[in-house]
């Protein structure tokens, strides 16, 4: 596999995770933004999407249900909650999008 193919594979895997994360954020924003408006490096809290502490709880729950990630076991959770790409880093470091939702 050459470098461009490797990169394409990395990008595809990240996009898969980002798509699922975007769906969560769209839900938290009550549809005020479309998925394509959610830039992956924009801030989730404060400025940016303007999420609040209740939304943070929802994201933590989502990480567990969607990706099997337990927030209490993540030492850098606060840093990971800063942007969609940061969340995707965390998910990808723990096996990516392979986790299937429990039935």
């Amino acid at each position: 596999m050459n470098m461009k193919e490797t990169i394409a594979q990395q990008v595809a895997e990240r996009e898969q995770v980002l798509d699922r994360l975007r769906q969560v954020i769209v839900r938290l924003l009550h549809g005020r933004r479309q998925p394509d408006e959610l830039d992956p490096d924009a801030a989730l809290f404060g400025s940016g999407f303007g999420l609040d502490s209740l939304d943070a709880v929802e994201i933590v729950v989502c990480l567990e249900t969607e990706f099997g990630l337990r927030a209490s076991e993540q030492p850098m959770m606060r840093g990971a909650m800063r942007s969609l790409n940061k969340l995707a880093d965390l998910v990808l470091a723990h096996g990516g999008a392979r986790h299937e939702r429990a039935a």
Partner: protein, 350 residues
């Protein structure tokens, strides 16, 4: 000027900036809302004492000013940085005005100061009022002739202070006097710009000058596609077309420069819109405008061409800094006890 030392103060204690890069304009009178609403790319869903962070755009959808719109009773206070045209001229030229709308430049009567750092709140609580501790992000209040907005583009606690010119020197003196206990530093614009890039804040004076819109700049949260304002038609066109380019954060171990060409296996895939040495991360950081299919973090295969050699680049998720202000809690922490408090490291790059 010692930028690394200034940046270190912003990242670990407090720094004061007394620059002229921020303009202040007041829009008052019965038509104030209509005037600001006509140029704001975001809905003015703000109450008295709240601010909204947005951009003012030209007809091509390019950002010409990075603005905090503050709702002050029936009036609006605009605090912002602009490129080329001044904030005042933009408002005068582009805002819808009906009889009785007053647009006032506050430059003659006021100066804009700012405090940045994980303990900026503590110093300001001593100098101004303890109530500063409860001031939410993008909240502001007035105390006499002084207006204090909690904002900032360094990733740390930040406060923009609009102070009457005849009171500014005395106010700065008080900050400096009390600031000694906080190892207060003075921050130049270069240090603030370095911190902005380290914390992935848009800089209208730098990357704002490129032929890019909020779509490429990952700033869509600062605009709405369902309003009428200057530049919206161009933005809608860009959004409707497949995104060709997008910015991504990159890092390198060797010097980077604005306009450096970025390559992937020898093919040109974009260029750097901005670059700086990060004293905090001890690395070079850049904002790369890349082919959108490659503008993703976690990629190690890019290079920057430098003469006959190639500098390896890697792309990263933003922001790259684990800001101390994320962990400093005004209810529990103090600059005095900082050495006893345990905080995660600011870096290194992951």
């Amino acid at each position: 000027m010692n930028v690394p030392r200034e940046v270190a103060a912003i990242r670990s204690s407090v720094a004061l900036s007394r620059g002229s890069h921020v303009s202040a304009v007041r829009v008052a009178g019965p038509g104030a809302f209509e005037a600001v609403d006509s140029i704001s790319p975001r809905e003015l869903y703000i109450q008295d004492g709240q601010a909204l962070h947005t951009l003012f755009l030209d007809d091509g959808g390019h950002a010409v000013a990075d603005v905090y719109v503050c709702a002050d009773g029936e009036d609006f206070l605009l605090l912002g940085e602009a490129r080329e045209q001044s904030l005042l001229d933009y408002v005068r030229d582009r805002a819808r005005q009906r009889g009785g709308t007053e647009i006032e430049d506050l430059a003659a009567s006021h100066e804009v100061l700012s405090l940045h750092g994980p303990y900026a709140w503590e110093l300001l609580a001593e100098v101004l009022t303890p109530e500063i501790i409860g001031l939410p992000y993008l909240g502001f209040f007035r105390e006499g002739q002084l207006t204090c907005l909690r904002a900032g583009k360094t990733g740390e606690y930040g406060y923009d202070l609009l102070v009457a010119r005849d009171e500014a020197d005395a106010f700065v003196e008080r900050i400096v006097e009390r600031g000694a206990a906080f190892d207060l530093a003075t921050a130049t614009l270069e240090a603030l710009d370095t911190c902005a890039l380290e914390s992935w804040f848009f800089n209208v004076r730098r990357e704002g000058g490129a032929d890019v819109t909020p779509v490429e700049l990952q700033l869509q949260w600062r605009v709405s596609y369902e309003r009428t304002y200057p530049g919206v038609s161009a933005l809608l066109e860009r959004r409707a077309a497949p995104t060709k380019r997008r910015i991504v954060l990159v890092a390198a171990g060797a010097p980077l420069a604005e306009r450096d060409r970025v390559l992937c296996e020898g093919d040109a895939i974009g260029e750097l819109l901005a670059a700086t040495r990060s004293p905090t991360l001890e690395n070079w950081l850049g904002i790369a405008l890349l082919d959108a299919s490659l503008a993703y973090p976690g990629i190690e295969g890019f290079t920057v061409a430098r003469g006959s050699s190639a500098i390896p680049l890697r792309s990263l998720s933003a922001p790259p800094i684990n800001n101390r202000s994320l962990y400093v809690d005004p209810q529990r922490h103090s600059y005095l006890t900082r050495d006893r408090d345990l905080f995660p490291p600011l870096g290194p790059l992951s």
